[in-house]
Amino acid sequence: MKTVSLTIDGKEIRAKEGEKVLWVALDNGIYIPNLCVIREALQSPAACRLCFVEVEGKDKPVTACTEPVIEGMVVNTQGPQALRLARTAFELLMASHPVECAHCLSRDSCELLKIAPHLKVRLKIKRLRGLPRGLPIDSSSPLFIYDPNKCVLCGRCVWVCRERLGIGDISFAHRGFQRVVATFGDEPMARARCSACDECVTVCPSGALCFKDGKGPKEELNRPVEKSKS
């Protein structure tokens, strides 16, 4: 396999040609915020708009989860334009997010808590008016709670249910500000198939899906892959 050399934030890196900038950065200890992508998926939906980086020679920031690395590429994860886009995307997400981390069952694994300081944005957004969704919490499952108010619509749970497990019981429904992850007919999650399964909970980066005991296993979001010595 062809390898290329590039630099990310001044660090010289060798990587597989065509690998996405996001994975190369994460594997080399450089964090880029991301919510909507799953490593094992073939494609990123590029929906969360948090992974913007600047690439020398390109006049606009690009999303790291879709940008393939090429020979001689110079990537800057801290460019002002890229950070401005990522910050705004994050602020928009948080403007409708109930920030109650002290009582949140996901506070130990929450990716939002990691992204906020990285982007130097406060969790309680000042710049935008808050717009709570006021949706009912679904605690019908014996194992987990689904709080759509905390959902960031990243789609990871949907992907896992459909692609990893081949079930396809949850997906996005409704439109605009009403958009939520739902079951057929907006039924409670405890229905037949969801009652015995909790795979979606393990990949949720926020407190939208969390185990009732707050302890169940949460997958570390897009864990770096150990480099093979070749």
Binding site: I167, G168, I170, S171, R175, G185
Partner: protein, 167 residues
């Protein structure tokens, strides 16, 4: 299963005969079925999902995405509250709230007696009359909460009259 549900399933199956099992046919199928049944009941969506070999939630996702699809049966009278720009500015939401309160249903729903269904539209083209509510295809001008009461009262009187005549 109720008789109505059985009937919905049969009608849906009949309509599906004209279509191939291609996912791209989903929207035309939904339009045909709604055209026949007036809305998209649960049982019809399940039959359609089975026919196309896709998860039921995918049908539901499309139905809830597009405004043209209804999840509830049409009422005898249709109430369409305009929330276009002009009506929005002139208190369209106040009119909508009045309808919701009086009928005790949400937008997109039907009263349990199936007398009224309530929904919103985006501009019906007569902005000078804002805020407009289209009642049974007739645009009503300057719909304030008292006007909502008036319209509902006239329906009630009509109904009373009709039942007297039938005696």
């Amino acid at each position: 299963m109720t008789k109505e549900q059985v009937n919905h399933i049969q009608e849906t199956r009949r309509i599906l005969k004209q279509f191939s099992r291609k996912r791209g046919n989903l929207i035309p199928i939904l339009q045909e079925v709604q055209g026949k049944l007036g809305y998209l009941p649960r049982e019809a969506m399940l039959v359609i999902a089975g026919f196309l070999g896709i998860p039921a939630i995918d049908v539901y996702g499309v139905v809830t995405f597009y405004n043209q699809f209804r999840l509830n049966p049409p009422g005898k009278h249709s109430i369409r509250v305009c929330l276009g720009t002009a009506c929005h500015m002139k208190g369209g939401y106040i009119a909508l709230d009045a309808w919701k309160r009086r009928l005790d249903i949400d937008s997109g729903e039907t009263t349990p007696d199936r007398e009224f269904d309530l929904d919103t539209v985006a501009c019906v083209g007569c902005c000078t009359m804002a805020p407009v509510t289209v009642v049974d295809d007739k645009p009503q001008a300057q719909v304030e909460p008292t006007k909502v009461d008036g319209i509902l009262l006239s329906f009630e009187l009509e109904k009373e009259k009709a039942s007297k005549e039938n005696l």
